[in-house]
Amino acid sequence: MSSPVSAIADLGVAALARAIAQGQFSSVEATQALLRGIEARRDLGAFLAVNPDFALAQARQADQRRVQGQAGPLNGVPLAHKDIFVTDFAASGLPTTAGSKMLAGYASPFDATVVTRLQQAGTVTLGKLNCDEFAMGSSNENSAFGPVRNPWNLQRVPGGSSGGSAAAVAARLIPAATGTDTGGSIRQPASFTGITGIKPTYGVCSRYGMVAFASSLDQAGPMARSAEDCALLLSAMGGFDERDATSAQRPAQDYAALLHAPRPGATAAQPLLGLRIGLPTEFFPAALSADVAAAVRGALAELHKLGATLVDVTLPRTELSIPVYYLIAPAEASSNLGRFDGVKFGHRAAQYGDLMDMYKKTRAEGFGPEVKRRIMIGTYVLSHGYYDAYYLQAQKLRRMIADDFQVCFQQCDIIAGPVAPTVAWKLGDKADDPVQNYLADIFTLPASLAGLPGMSVPAGFAASAEGAGMPVGLQLIGNYFEEGQLLHTAHALQQATDHHLRAPAVQPAPVSGGAAGEMSGQMSGQTSGQTSGQASGQVSA
């Protein structure tokens, strides 16, 4: 049965915007089709809240704007936001939870800047996406509202912390999603689910309205199915915002134009002629999984064929980036999460004695185990007598790591390597050992600490029985504000390969479901009660 649903679900951002602009179908039709798809895949656990009424109202407005000739660049394109971006509850009916019991049902009085900008570009917000609690995690198993499953294999994690975003885009529920990346939370789930995601330079996207984890590292970015779609989204999301004290004061960028602009001296067959790609020896250790190594080497060979020169470089403090990151990020988190005291918003314990008791019980009940661990680490390394030995030493090493990159960028234009040492692991495999999770972040942490832009581009699929055909991502790291060059390189690779076009086959649901579009069973991640079967048939097409 070839239904328009699957046709619309297969389209990316650029194609959807074009089709809606040309009147092939309306934004309302696209929105209805995707809402049906979301309803049918509750088994993934990707969505925490969906509001069909709000989505369809936005879609109708987008269709009106088209008729009136007032359409923005992404007019009518449906997408969804990681539940770390606050959404105005009065306007959208969408709560903001950050994946935490602490914020269950939280009604934000305003929209995040990234949400506002994407709406101004014409997009339609379908809902909010599951994530690790306060974006702390690399498997999405730390969400208070249940895990997210990887659409390529439902027994495996989708990565994290932007796991709901990655799973929903990979499963063709939505063409694109927003994500945030503190130590790899856009790149690693993009790699684990075979999609494309970019974390821009620190300061490109406003942090206003992003629930704060580690403020000197947090950065928003788009997750989609191609570099071209990411470029369109980033152009809309990014740019200076006076409400963010660390927003970069630069003129607005047209990343799609940069993506398409030919390199000087390049040819059609060799669009990357003259591009020097640095391969840090430390990113290719003996312990790297053979599946990851083979796919990454394959993608690098492809980039070489496209004209790029591969050069060996070194990032000698790659391994040190793990303790440095896992001291700095928890230190900032322990400070940021001090605001959750049960007074002005969020959870408050039901039973307590004095004020101190209220604080302690409220935080004990509201935070999950990983968040508590990080608050403990952060509190300790910032405490009297330990600050110099841990926090200050980590900040000094952070500068040395950033300086190492600048040495590399004298020898190359882009740095490439794997995103993660392995493909997506099975649910529960690392749940009992936090340090094992931290070690797996080794290749994404260095660029995060330096504040450099990094992206994950589909490189291929695991060939071994153990790898079970799971996707592998190639990481590209650029110098500050070189997002255009990263996107241009990724686009060239995607013109020559089809890894990014492959979609996971729909597998039988692990729990018995009803007819298509009407999954039975409760939705563990449901916080709002907004998702309902009323998505279909409410508005005539």
């Binding site: 939280y106 660390t246 793990i322 007074v343 002005k344």
Partner: protein, 99 residues
């Protein structure tokens, strides 16, 4: 130097977290496991290196932006208190702090 159960209790108090004895026990093991990978950091000679607190300052001078001292926000009390656990007549309610 490994953390002791007393250290965990002291840190939990600073962090305003109530930990059950099981939780504290597990936390102790996990924190000590984590600080073992931190050890390699202390061996690095960082004398003379400026700490990096915000990433762009690695390559450019970063200064705090100032703005005009003007009112930009309107009263949003009702919306802002919508998610408050306990509110009365526009005030946040907390346990008695002054006897």
């Amino acid at each position: 130097m490994a953390l002791t159960p007393e250290d965990v209790g002291r840190i939990a108090h600073l962090a305003r977290l109530q930990l059950s004895s099981d939780e504290a026990q597990q936390m102790l093991g996990q924190l000590n496991g984590f600080f073992r990978i931190v050890e390699q950091m202390s061996a690095v000679d960082t004398r003379g290196v400026e700490p990096l607190s915000t990433p762009l300052s690695a390559v450019q001078a970063v200064s705090l932006r100032l703005r005009a001292d003007a009112v930009t926000e309107t009263d949003q009390r009702t919306a802002n208190q919508r998610s408050a656990p306990s509110v009365e007549e526009g005030l946040f309610l907390v346990p008695k702090v002054i006897e």
